[in-house]
Subunit: 289 residues, 2 copies
Protein backbone atom coordinates (compact mmCIF):
# COMPACT_ATOMS: atom_id res chain seq x y z
CA UNK A 1 0.00 0.00 0.00
CA UNK A 2 1.55 3.32 -0.99
CA UNK A 3 1.24 6.55 0.96
CA UNK A 4 -1.61 7.82 -1.15
CA UNK A 5 -3.78 4.74 -0.71
CA UNK A 6 -2.97 4.66 2.98
CA UNK A 7 -3.90 8.31 3.40
CA UNK A 8 -7.13 7.63 1.55
CA UNK A 9 -7.95 4.81 3.93
CA UNK A 10 -7.22 6.96 6.95
CA UNK A 11 -9.23 9.82 5.48
CA UNK A 12 -12.23 7.55 5.18
CA UNK A 13 -11.89 6.55 8.80
CA UNK A 14 -11.01 9.88 10.31
CA UNK A 15 -12.83 12.41 8.20
CA UNK A 16 -10.89 15.60 8.69
CA UNK A 17 -7.54 13.93 8.01
CA UNK A 18 -8.52 13.83 4.33
CA UNK A 19 -8.24 17.59 4.11
CA UNK A 20 -5.02 19.61 4.38
CA UNK A 21 -5.48 19.98 8.11
CA UNK A 22 -7.85 18.81 10.81
CA UNK A 23 -10.24 21.33 12.32
CA UNK A 24 -11.74 20.77 15.75
CA UNK A 25 -13.62 23.43 17.71
CA UNK A 26 -12.22 26.14 15.46
CA UNK A 27 -8.66 24.92 16.09
CA UNK A 28 -6.59 23.83 13.06
CA UNK A 29 -3.83 21.26 13.61
CA UNK A 30 -1.53 19.79 11.00
CA UNK A 31 1.72 17.83 11.04
CA UNK A 32 4.29 16.92 8.39
CA UNK A 33 7.29 14.62 8.56
CA UNK A 34 10.24 15.25 6.26
CA UNK A 35 13.59 13.51 6.01
CA UNK A 36 16.93 13.76 4.37
CA UNK A 37 16.66 11.08 1.70
CA UNK A 38 13.50 12.34 0.01
CA UNK A 39 13.05 15.94 1.11
CA UNK A 40 16.45 17.56 1.55
CA UNK A 41 18.89 17.21 -1.36
CA UNK A 42 22.61 17.37 -0.53
CA UNK A 43 23.42 21.01 0.11
CA UNK A 44 20.15 21.84 1.82
CA UNK A 45 21.06 23.88 4.89
CA UNK A 46 19.53 23.22 8.28
CA UNK A 47 18.11 26.75 8.05
CA UNK A 48 16.27 25.81 4.87
CA UNK A 49 15.19 22.50 6.42
CA UNK A 50 13.65 24.35 9.37
CA UNK A 51 11.96 26.76 7.00
CA UNK A 52 10.46 24.04 4.80
CA UNK A 53 9.43 21.75 7.65
CA UNK A 54 7.36 24.41 9.35
CA UNK A 55 6.45 26.05 6.04
CA UNK A 56 4.78 22.84 4.85
CA UNK A 57 2.50 22.83 7.89
CA UNK A 58 1.85 26.58 7.66
CA UNK A 59 0.74 25.95 4.09
CA UNK A 60 -1.77 23.36 5.30
CA UNK A 61 -3.23 25.94 7.67
CA UNK A 62 -3.35 28.43 4.79
CA UNK A 63 -5.21 25.88 2.68
CA UNK A 64 -7.97 25.77 5.30
CA UNK A 65 -8.22 29.57 5.27
CA UNK A 66 -6.91 29.60 8.83
CA UNK A 67 -4.70 31.87 10.90
CA UNK A 68 -1.45 30.34 12.18
CA UNK A 69 -0.71 30.63 15.90
CA UNK A 70 2.15 28.39 16.97
CA UNK A 71 4.61 25.90 15.57
CA UNK A 72 6.71 23.11 17.07
CA UNK A 73 9.15 20.65 15.55
CA UNK A 74 10.65 17.32 16.48
CA UNK A 75 14.25 17.19 15.27
CA UNK A 76 15.87 13.80 14.79
CA UNK A 77 19.56 13.61 13.83
CA UNK A 78 22.59 11.39 14.41
CA UNK A 79 24.39 14.22 16.22
CA UNK A 80 23.17 17.39 17.88
CA UNK A 81 25.41 20.10 16.48
CA UNK A 82 24.56 23.39 18.22
CA UNK A 83 25.05 25.45 15.04
CA UNK A 84 22.86 23.11 13.02
CA UNK A 85 20.10 23.13 15.63
CA UNK A 86 20.28 26.89 15.92
CA UNK A 87 20.10 27.23 12.13
CA UNK A 88 17.08 24.92 12.01
CA UNK A 89 15.33 26.93 14.73
CA UNK A 90 16.20 30.18 12.92
CA UNK A 91 14.69 28.92 9.66
CA UNK A 92 11.59 27.67 11.46
CA UNK A 93 11.27 30.97 13.34
CA UNK A 94 11.76 33.10 10.24
CA UNK A 95 9.08 31.34 8.19
CA UNK A 96 6.74 31.64 11.19
CA UNK A 97 7.43 35.36 11.39
CA UNK A 98 6.22 35.77 7.78
CA UNK A 99 2.83 34.42 8.77
CA UNK A 100 2.25 35.81 12.24
CA UNK A 101 2.88 32.46 13.95
CA UNK A 102 5.34 31.87 16.75
CA UNK A 103 7.89 29.05 16.80
CA UNK A 104 7.71 27.75 20.35
CA UNK A 105 10.14 24.83 20.50
CA UNK A 106 10.05 21.10 20.20
CA UNK A 107 11.75 17.81 20.80
CA UNK A 108 15.15 16.32 19.96
CA UNK A 109 15.57 12.69 19.08
CA UNK A 110 18.70 10.73 18.29
CA UNK A 111 18.11 9.37 14.82
CA UNK A 112 20.27 7.74 12.15
CA UNK A 113 18.75 9.75 9.32
CA UNK A 114 18.04 13.47 9.66
CA UNK A 115 14.26 13.42 10.18
CA UNK A 116 12.00 16.22 11.27
CA UNK A 117 8.31 16.57 12.00
CA UNK A 118 6.70 19.97 12.13
CA UNK A 119 3.33 20.82 13.57
CA UNK A 120 1.40 24.04 13.27
CA UNK A 121 -1.64 25.04 15.27
CA UNK A 122 -3.96 27.76 14.15
CA UNK A 123 -7.51 28.97 14.15
CA UNK A 124 -10.16 28.69 11.48
CA UNK A 125 -13.62 29.85 12.44
CA UNK A 126 -14.95 29.19 8.95
CA UNK A 127 -12.61 26.65 7.32
CA UNK A 128 -12.50 26.02 3.59
CA UNK A 129 -12.55 22.34 2.65
CA UNK A 130 -11.75 20.56 -0.59
CA UNK A 131 -15.33 19.64 -1.20
CA UNK A 132 -17.23 22.81 -2.10
CA UNK A 133 -16.48 23.42 -5.81
CA UNK A 134 -19.43 23.70 -8.24
CA UNK A 135 -19.56 23.62 -12.05
CA UNK A 136 -19.50 27.11 -13.54
CA UNK A 137 -17.01 28.48 -11.02
CA UNK A 138 -13.39 29.13 -11.95
CA UNK A 139 -10.22 27.43 -10.74
CA UNK A 140 -7.27 29.52 -9.56
CA UNK A 141 -3.76 29.22 -8.22
CA UNK A 142 -1.73 31.69 -6.14
CA UNK A 143 1.80 32.75 -7.07
CA UNK A 144 3.84 30.66 -9.48
CA UNK A 145 4.51 26.97 -10.01
CA UNK A 146 7.71 24.99 -10.37
CA UNK A 147 10.08 26.63 -7.89
CA UNK A 148 10.73 23.45 -5.96
CA UNK A 149 11.34 21.37 -9.07
CA UNK A 150 13.73 24.04 -10.31
CA UNK A 151 15.43 24.08 -6.90
CA UNK A 152 16.06 20.33 -7.00
CA UNK A 153 17.63 20.71 -10.45
CA UNK A 154 19.84 23.49 -9.10
CA UNK A 155 20.91 21.28 -6.20
CA UNK A 156 21.67 18.48 -8.68
CA UNK A 157 23.96 20.87 -10.56
CA UNK A 158 25.75 21.92 -7.41
CA UNK A 159 24.13 25.36 -7.27
CA UNK A 160 23.27 24.95 -3.64
CA UNK A 161 22.95 28.65 -2.91
CA UNK A 162 20.27 29.02 -5.55
CA UNK A 163 18.66 25.75 -4.47
CA UNK A 164 18.35 26.92 -0.90
CA UNK A 165 16.97 30.27 -2.01
CA UNK A 166 14.26 28.66 -4.14
CA UNK A 167 13.47 26.18 -1.36
CA UNK A 168 12.48 28.98 1.02
CA UNK A 169 8.90 29.53 -0.08
CA UNK A 170 6.42 31.92 1.47
CA UNK A 171 3.45 30.07 2.95
CA UNK A 172 0.21 31.64 1.73
CA UNK A 173 -1.35 32.13 5.14
CA UNK A 174 -2.32 35.79 4.64
CA UNK A 175 -3.69 35.04 1.17
CA UNK A 176 -5.61 32.04 2.49
CA UNK A 177 -7.24 34.22 5.13
CA UNK A 178 -8.47 36.63 2.49
CA UNK A 179 -9.54 33.84 0.15
CA UNK A 180 -11.50 32.07 2.91
CA UNK A 181 -14.43 34.38 2.31
CA UNK A 182 -14.66 33.64 -1.41
CA UNK A 183 -13.12 30.19 -2.06
CA UNK A 184 -15.63 27.35 -2.34
CA UNK A 185 -12.91 24.67 -2.23
CA UNK A 186 -9.19 25.00 -1.51
CA UNK A 187 -6.04 22.95 -0.92
CA UNK A 188 -2.35 23.48 -1.34
CA UNK A 189 -0.33 22.28 -4.31
CA UNK A 190 2.11 20.19 -2.28
CA UNK A 191 1.43 17.08 -4.38
CA UNK A 192 1.71 19.05 -7.63
CA UNK A 193 -0.94 20.96 -9.56
CA UNK A 194 -2.15 17.93 -11.53
CA UNK A 195 -2.77 15.81 -8.47
CA UNK A 196 -4.29 18.75 -6.59
CA UNK A 197 -6.84 19.20 -9.37
CA UNK A 198 -7.72 15.51 -9.24
CA UNK A 199 -8.04 15.62 -5.46
CA UNK A 200 -10.28 18.70 -5.54
CA UNK A 201 -12.36 17.10 -8.32
CA UNK A 202 -12.79 13.90 -6.30
CA UNK A 203 -13.65 15.74 -3.07
CA UNK A 204 -16.08 18.12 -4.79
CA UNK A 205 -17.46 15.57 -7.26
CA UNK A 206 -16.75 17.85 -10.20
CA UNK A 207 -14.28 18.22 -13.04
CA UNK A 208 -11.90 20.90 -14.32
CA UNK A 209 -10.91 22.23 -17.67
CA UNK A 210 -7.65 24.14 -17.56
CA UNK A 211 -5.57 25.72 -20.30
CA UNK A 212 -1.84 25.12 -20.45
CA UNK A 213 -1.16 28.67 -21.61
CA UNK A 214 -2.54 30.09 -18.39
CA UNK A 215 -0.12 28.27 -16.09
CA UNK A 216 1.96 30.77 -14.07
CA UNK A 217 5.29 29.01 -14.48
CA UNK A 218 8.01 30.39 -12.23
CA UNK A 219 10.94 32.04 -14.06
CA UNK A 220 13.31 29.72 -12.19
CA UNK A 221 11.89 26.85 -14.23
CA UNK A 222 12.97 28.42 -17.51
CA UNK A 223 16.52 28.60 -16.17
CA UNK A 224 16.71 24.83 -15.78
CA UNK A 225 14.19 23.25 -18.17
CA UNK A 226 15.70 21.93 -21.42
CA UNK A 227 12.39 21.90 -23.26
CA UNK A 228 8.65 22.40 -22.97
CA UNK A 229 8.09 18.85 -21.70
CA UNK A 230 10.47 19.38 -18.78
CA UNK A 231 8.98 22.80 -18.14
CA UNK A 232 5.56 21.20 -17.82
CA UNK A 233 6.92 18.37 -15.68
CA UNK A 234 8.44 20.76 -13.14
CA UNK A 235 5.49 23.14 -12.98
CA UNK A 236 2.59 20.69 -13.09
CA UNK A 237 3.66 17.36 -11.65
CA UNK A 238 6.73 17.89 -9.46
CA UNK A 239 4.86 19.43 -6.56
CA UNK A 240 6.00 20.78 -3.18
CA UNK A 241 5.37 24.35 -4.32
CA UNK A 242 2.89 25.08 -1.55
CA UNK A 243 0.72 27.44 -3.54
CA UNK A 244 -3.04 27.51 -2.97
CA UNK A 245 -5.34 25.94 -5.55
CA UNK A 246 -8.94 27.06 -5.13
CA UNK A 247 -12.29 27.49 -6.79
CA UNK A 248 -14.49 30.58 -6.67
CA UNK A 249 -16.67 32.79 -8.78
CA UNK A 250 -14.54 35.23 -10.80
CA UNK A 251 -16.53 38.20 -9.52
CA UNK A 252 -15.88 37.23 -5.92
CA UNK A 253 -12.16 36.80 -6.60
CA UNK A 254 -11.96 40.22 -8.18
CA UNK A 255 -13.42 41.63 -4.99
CA UNK A 256 -10.52 40.38 -2.84
CA UNK A 257 -7.72 40.42 -5.42
CA UNK A 258 -6.08 43.59 -4.12
CA UNK A 259 -6.18 42.44 -0.51
CA UNK A 260 -4.67 39.00 -1.19
CA UNK A 261 -1.13 40.26 -1.63
CA UNK A 262 -0.04 37.65 -4.16
CA UNK A 263 -0.90 37.08 -7.81
CA UNK A 264 -4.01 34.98 -8.49
CA UNK A 265 -4.14 33.20 -11.83
CA UNK A 266 -7.28 31.75 -13.31
CA UNK A 267 -6.37 28.37 -14.78
CA UNK A 268 -9.76 27.43 -16.18
CA UNK A 269 -13.27 26.38 -15.30
CA UNK A 270 -15.02 23.99 -12.95
CA UNK A 271 -16.95 21.40 -15.00
CA UNK A 272 -19.20 18.45 -14.25
CA UNK A 273 -16.56 15.76 -14.56
CA UNK A 274 -13.09 14.86 -15.84
CA UNK A 275 -9.88 16.80 -15.39
CA UNK A 276 -8.82 18.15 -18.77
CA UNK A 277 -6.02 20.39 -20.00
CA UNK A 278 -6.64 21.89 -23.43
CA UNK A 279 -9.30 19.24 -23.91
CA UNK A 280 -7.02 16.29 -23.15
CA UNK A 281 -7.17 14.22 -19.93
CA UNK A 282 -4.62 15.50 -17.39
CA UNK A 283 -2.80 12.53 -15.85
CA UNK A 284 -3.38 12.03 -12.15
CA UNK A 285 0.21 11.78 -11.09
CA UNK A 286 2.49 13.85 -8.91
CA UNK A 287 4.73 13.86 -5.93
CA UNK A 288 4.38 10.91 -3.58
CA UNK A 289 6.12 11.76 -0.34
CA UNK B 1 26.53 17.55 22.16
CA UNK B 2 24.02 15.14 23.65
CA UNK B 3 20.28 15.64 23.62
CA UNK B 4 20.21 17.02 27.11
CA UNK B 5 22.79 19.73 26.49
CA UNK B 6 21.14 20.58 23.18
CA UNK B 7 17.74 20.88 24.82
CA UNK B 8 19.28 23.08 27.47
CA UNK B 9 20.70 25.36 24.81
CA UNK B 10 17.39 25.57 23.03
CA UNK B 11 15.59 26.20 26.29
CA UNK B 12 17.83 29.15 26.97
CA UNK B 13 17.04 30.58 23.56
CA UNK B 14 13.37 29.82 23.36
CA UNK B 15 12.13 30.07 26.90
CA UNK B 16 9.00 27.97 26.99
CA UNK B 17 10.67 25.04 25.23
CA UNK B 18 12.50 24.31 28.46
CA UNK B 19 9.28 23.27 30.12
CA UNK B 20 7.28 20.13 29.29
CA UNK B 21 5.24 22.05 26.74
CA UNK B 22 5.10 25.51 25.24
CA UNK B 23 2.25 27.79 26.22
CA UNK B 24 1.20 30.68 24.00
CA UNK B 25 -1.99 32.67 24.45
CA UNK B 26 -3.41 29.96 26.70
CA UNK B 27 -2.71 27.30 24.05
CA UNK B 28 -0.42 24.40 25.01
CA UNK B 29 1.52 22.66 22.24
CA UNK B 30 3.96 19.80 22.60
CA UNK B 31 5.59 17.30 20.27
CA UNK B 32 7.56 14.07 20.77
CA UNK B 33 9.43 11.93 18.30
CA UNK B 34 9.86 8.21 18.99
CA UNK B 35 11.42 5.47 16.92
CA UNK B 36 11.86 1.76 16.78
CA UNK B 37 15.48 1.40 17.86
CA UNK B 38 15.21 3.27 21.16
CA UNK B 39 11.53 3.44 22.03
CA UNK B 40 9.80 0.30 20.79
CA UNK B 41 11.39 -3.03 21.79
CA UNK B 42 10.76 -6.01 19.49
CA UNK B 43 7.21 -7.15 20.16
CA UNK B 44 5.77 -3.69 20.67
CA UNK B 45 2.53 -3.60 18.72
CA UNK B 46 1.58 -0.69 16.50
CA UNK B 47 -1.40 -0.20 18.81
CA UNK B 48 0.95 0.28 21.74
CA UNK B 49 3.20 2.53 19.63
CA UNK B 50 0.24 4.77 18.82
CA UNK B 51 -0.75 4.81 22.46
CA UNK B 52 2.73 5.74 23.72
CA UNK B 53 3.46 8.29 21.01
CA UNK B 54 0.37 10.33 21.75
CA UNK B 55 0.47 9.44 25.44
CA UNK B 56 3.91 11.03 25.80
CA UNK B 57 2.59 14.34 24.47
CA UNK B 58 -0.60 14.11 26.51
CA UNK B 59 1.63 13.71 29.56
CA UNK B 60 3.43 16.95 28.67
CA UNK B 61 0.10 18.76 28.57
CA UNK B 62 -0.78 17.17 31.93
CA UNK B 63 2.51 18.42 33.36
CA UNK B 64 1.47 22.00 32.54
CA UNK B 65 -1.88 21.48 34.27
CA UNK B 66 -3.59 21.81 30.90
CA UNK B 67 -6.63 20.28 29.22
CA UNK B 68 -5.93 18.23 26.09
CA UNK B 69 -7.93 19.08 22.97
CA UNK B 70 -6.53 17.41 19.86
CA UNK B 71 -3.73 15.10 18.78
CA UNK B 72 -2.02 14.41 15.47
CA UNK B 73 0.81 12.07 14.51
CA UNK B 74 3.30 11.76 11.69
CA UNK B 75 3.86 8.08 10.92
CA UNK B 76 7.03 7.07 9.12
CA UNK B 77 7.54 3.45 8.11
CA UNK B 78 9.16 1.41 5.32
CA UNK B 79 5.76 0.04 4.27
CA UNK B 80 2.23 1.21 4.86
CA UNK B 81 0.42 -1.87 6.06
CA UNK B 82 -3.27 -1.00 6.48
CA UNK B 83 -3.66 -3.17 9.58
CA UNK B 84 -0.60 -1.63 11.20
CA UNK B 85 -1.74 1.91 10.45
CA UNK B 86 -5.21 1.16 11.72
CA UNK B 87 -3.78 -0.34 14.91
CA UNK B 88 -1.58 2.72 15.42
CA UNK B 89 -4.56 5.03 14.96
CA UNK B 90 -6.64 2.89 17.32
CA UNK B 91 -3.97 3.10 20.03
CA UNK B 92 -3.62 6.85 19.53
CA UNK B 93 -7.39 7.31 19.60
CA UNK B 94 -7.87 5.15 22.69
CA UNK B 95 -5.30 7.00 24.78
CA UNK B 96 -6.87 10.28 23.65
CA UNK B 97 -10.28 9.04 24.74
CA UNK B 98 -8.95 8.53 28.28
CA UNK B 99 -8.12 12.22 28.51
CA UNK B 100 -10.92 13.95 26.63
CA UNK B 101 -8.74 14.73 23.60
CA UNK B 102 -9.62 13.81 20.03
CA UNK B 103 -7.20 12.13 17.63
CA UNK B 104 -7.68 14.02 14.38
CA UNK B 105 -5.22 12.48 11.93
CA UNK B 106 -1.77 13.14 10.64
CA UNK B 107 0.82 12.50 7.99
CA UNK B 108 2.43 9.42 6.47
CA UNK B 109 6.06 9.36 5.44
CA UNK B 110 8.07 6.63 3.79
CA UNK B 111 10.89 5.93 6.21
CA UNK B 112 13.52 3.21 6.62
CA UNK B 113 13.08 2.98 10.38
CA UNK B 114 9.65 3.05 12.01
CA UNK B 115 9.56 6.64 13.32
CA UNK B 116 6.64 8.57 14.68
CA UNK B 117 6.09 12.09 15.95
CA UNK B 118 3.05 12.92 18.02
CA UNK B 119 1.73 16.36 18.80
CA UNK B 120 -0.94 17.35 21.26
CA UNK B 121 -2.65 20.69 21.51
CA UNK B 122 -4.50 21.78 24.60
CA UNK B 123 -5.46 24.70 26.76
CA UNK B 124 -3.90 25.99 29.94
CA UNK B 125 -5.28 29.22 31.28
CA UNK B 126 -3.05 29.06 34.33
CA UNK B 127 -0.11 26.79 33.44
CA UNK B 128 2.18 25.25 36.05
CA UNK B 129 5.87 25.60 35.26
CA UNK B 130 8.92 23.87 36.67
CA UNK B 131 10.13 26.96 38.40
CA UNK B 132 7.78 27.68 41.32
CA UNK B 133 8.93 25.36 44.11
CA UNK B 134 9.90 26.88 47.49
CA UNK B 135 11.72 25.42 50.51
CA UNK B 136 9.31 24.08 53.11
CA UNK B 137 6.86 22.67 50.58
CA UNK B 138 6.61 18.95 49.94
CA UNK B 139 7.47 16.95 46.81
CA UNK B 140 4.97 14.43 45.41
CA UNK B 141 4.53 11.94 42.61
CA UNK B 142 1.33 10.54 41.10
CA UNK B 143 0.72 6.82 40.66
CA UNK B 144 3.61 4.38 40.71
CA UNK B 145 7.13 4.26 39.28
CA UNK B 146 8.95 1.64 37.25
CA UNK B 147 6.27 0.26 34.91
CA UNK B 148 8.20 1.11 31.76
CA UNK B 149 11.45 -0.34 33.06
CA UNK B 150 9.59 -3.49 34.04
CA UNK B 151 7.93 -3.58 30.61
CA UNK B 152 11.28 -3.48 28.83
CA UNK B 153 12.50 -6.38 30.96
CA UNK B 154 9.35 -8.31 30.05
CA UNK B 155 9.95 -7.62 26.36
CA UNK B 156 13.54 -8.81 26.76
CA UNK B 157 12.23 -12.07 28.19
CA UNK B 158 9.79 -12.55 25.33
CA UNK B 159 6.73 -11.71 27.44
CA UNK B 160 5.45 -9.34 24.80
CA UNK B 161 1.85 -9.46 25.95
CA UNK B 162 2.81 -8.27 29.40
CA UNK B 163 5.26 -5.75 27.92
CA UNK B 164 2.58 -4.19 25.76
CA UNK B 165 0.16 -4.08 28.68
CA UNK B 166 2.64 -2.26 30.90
CA UNK B 167 3.57 0.08 28.05
CA UNK B 168 0.03 1.43 27.85
CA UNK B 169 0.15 4.03 30.56
CA UNK B 170 -2.61 6.44 31.51
CA UNK B 171 -1.58 10.05 30.94
CA UNK B 172 -2.32 12.12 34.04
CA UNK B 173 -4.29 14.84 32.29
CA UNK B 174 -7.27 14.79 34.67
CA UNK B 175 -4.95 14.70 37.69
CA UNK B 176 -2.86 17.53 36.28
CA UNK B 177 -5.97 19.67 35.89
CA UNK B 178 -6.84 19.19 39.55
CA UNK B 179 -3.27 19.70 40.68
CA UNK B 180 -2.92 22.92 38.68
CA UNK B 181 -4.61 24.84 41.46
CA UNK B 182 -2.22 23.63 44.16
CA UNK B 183 1.08 22.65 42.51
CA UNK B 184 3.82 25.29 42.67
CA UNK B 185 6.07 23.43 40.21
CA UNK B 186 5.34 20.38 38.08
CA UNK B 187 6.80 18.21 35.32
CA UNK B 188 6.41 14.65 34.16
CA UNK B 189 8.79 11.84 35.05
CA UNK B 190 9.64 10.91 31.47
CA UNK B 191 13.38 11.22 32.12
CA UNK B 192 13.13 9.25 35.36
CA UNK B 193 12.40 10.42 38.89
CA UNK B 194 16.02 11.25 39.73
CA UNK B 195 16.51 13.48 36.71
CA UNK B 196 13.09 15.06 37.19
CA UNK B 197 14.05 16.08 40.72
CA UNK B 198 17.28 17.61 39.46
CA UNK B 199 15.44 19.47 36.70
CA UNK B 200 12.83 20.84 39.10
CA UNK B 201 15.59 21.82 41.54
CA UNK B 202 17.50 23.67 38.81
CA UNK B 203 14.41 25.42 37.46
CA UNK B 204 13.16 26.42 40.90
CA UNK B 205 16.60 27.08 42.40
CA UNK B 206 15.91 24.79 45.34
CA UNK B 207 16.83 21.34 46.60
CA UNK B 208 14.96 18.18 47.63
CA UNK B 209 15.32 15.63 50.35
CA UNK B 210 13.46 12.42 49.58
CA UNK B 211 13.26 9.14 51.44
CA UNK B 212 13.76 5.88 49.58
CA UNK B 213 11.11 4.11 51.66
CA UNK B 214 8.43 6.42 50.39
CA UNK B 215 8.89 5.58 46.70
CA UNK B 216 5.69 4.10 45.21
CA UNK B 217 7.35 1.30 43.27
CA UNK B 218 5.02 -0.41 40.83
CA UNK B 219 4.30 -4.10 41.61
CA UNK B 220 5.44 -4.99 38.08
CA UNK B 221 8.97 -4.03 39.12
CA UNK B 222 9.05 -6.66 41.86
CA UNK B 223 8.16 -9.29 39.26
CA UNK B 224 11.34 -8.59 37.26
CA UNK B 225 13.91 -7.07 39.65
CA UNK B 226 16.52 -9.51 40.92
CA UNK B 227 17.50 -7.35 43.88
CA UNK B 228 17.03 -3.99 45.59
CA UNK B 229 19.58 -2.27 43.34
CA UNK B 230 17.72 -3.29 40.21
CA UNK B 231 14.43 -2.33 41.82
CA UNK B 232 15.80 1.14 42.46
CA UNK B 233 17.29 1.39 38.97
CA UNK B 234 13.96 0.63 37.30
CA UNK B 235 11.86 2.87 39.53
CA UNK B 236 14.18 5.86 39.93
CA UNK B 237 16.41 6.15 36.88
CA UNK B 238 14.87 4.24 33.99
CA UNK B 239 12.21 6.82 33.23
CA UNK B 240 9.43 6.97 30.64
CA UNK B 241 6.80 6.40 33.31
CA UNK B 242 4.94 9.61 32.59
CA UNK B 243 3.83 10.25 36.14
CA UNK B 244 3.60 13.81 37.46
CA UNK B 245 6.25 15.07 39.88
CA UNK B 246 5.16 18.23 41.67
CA UNK B 247 5.65 20.42 44.69
CA UNK B 248 2.91 21.86 46.90
CA UNK B 249 1.99 22.48 50.48
CA UNK B 250 0.69 19.29 52.12
CA UNK B 251 -2.47 21.03 53.30
CA UNK B 252 -3.29 22.15 49.76
CA UNK B 253 -2.69 18.65 48.41
CA UNK B 254 -5.01 17.13 51.00
CA UNK B 255 -7.69 19.51 49.77
CA UNK B 256 -7.67 18.07 46.24
CA UNK B 257 -6.59 14.50 46.97
CA UNK B 258 -10.05 12.98 46.54
CA UNK B 259 -10.68 14.82 43.29
CA UNK B 260 -7.37 13.85 41.67
CA UNK B 261 -8.38 10.28 40.91
CA UNK B 262 -4.92 8.75 41.29
CA UNK B 263 -2.70 8.10 44.29
CA UNK B 264 -0.44 10.95 45.39
CA UNK B 265 2.69 10.00 47.29
CA UNK B 266 4.74 12.44 49.27
CA UNK B 267 8.39 11.66 48.58
CA UNK B 268 9.97 14.25 50.83
CA UNK B 269 10.60 17.94 51.34
CA UNK B 270 11.69 20.94 49.29
CA UNK B 271 14.98 22.28 50.69
CA UNK B 272 17.31 25.15 49.89
CA UNK B 273 19.77 23.19 47.80
CA UNK B 274 21.06 19.73 46.81
CA UNK B 275 19.03 16.70 45.80
CA UNK B 276 19.37 14.10 48.52
CA UNK B 277 17.88 10.66 49.16
CA UNK B 278 18.14 9.50 52.76
CA UNK B 279 20.79 12.17 53.24
CA UNK B 280 22.98 11.02 50.34
CA UNK B 281 23.32 12.89 47.01
CA UNK B 282 20.96 11.44 44.41
CA UNK B 283 22.82 11.02 41.10
CA UNK B 284 21.58 13.20 38.26
CA UNK B 285 21.21 10.49 35.68
CA UNK B 286 18.30 8.99 33.82
CA UNK B 287 16.86 8.25 30.48
CA UNK B 288 18.40 10.08 27.55
CA UNK B 289 16.09 9.75 24.56
Amino acid sequence: MDERSALGMLADELGPAGDDAAVIDGLVVTTDMLHERTDFPPGTTRYTAGWRTIGASLSDVAAMGGAATAAVAAYGAPTFDPDEIRAFVDGASDVCALTGAEYVGGDLDNHDEFTVAGTVVGKAEDPVYRSGASPGEAIYVTGTLGRTGAAVREFDRGNVGRGNELFQFEPRVAAGRQLASVATAMMDSSDGLARSLHQLAAASDCGFHVEWDRLPVDPSVDAVAANEAERRELSTYFGEDFELVFTASPAAVDGVRDAVGVSLTRLGTVTDSEVLADGEPLPDRGYTH
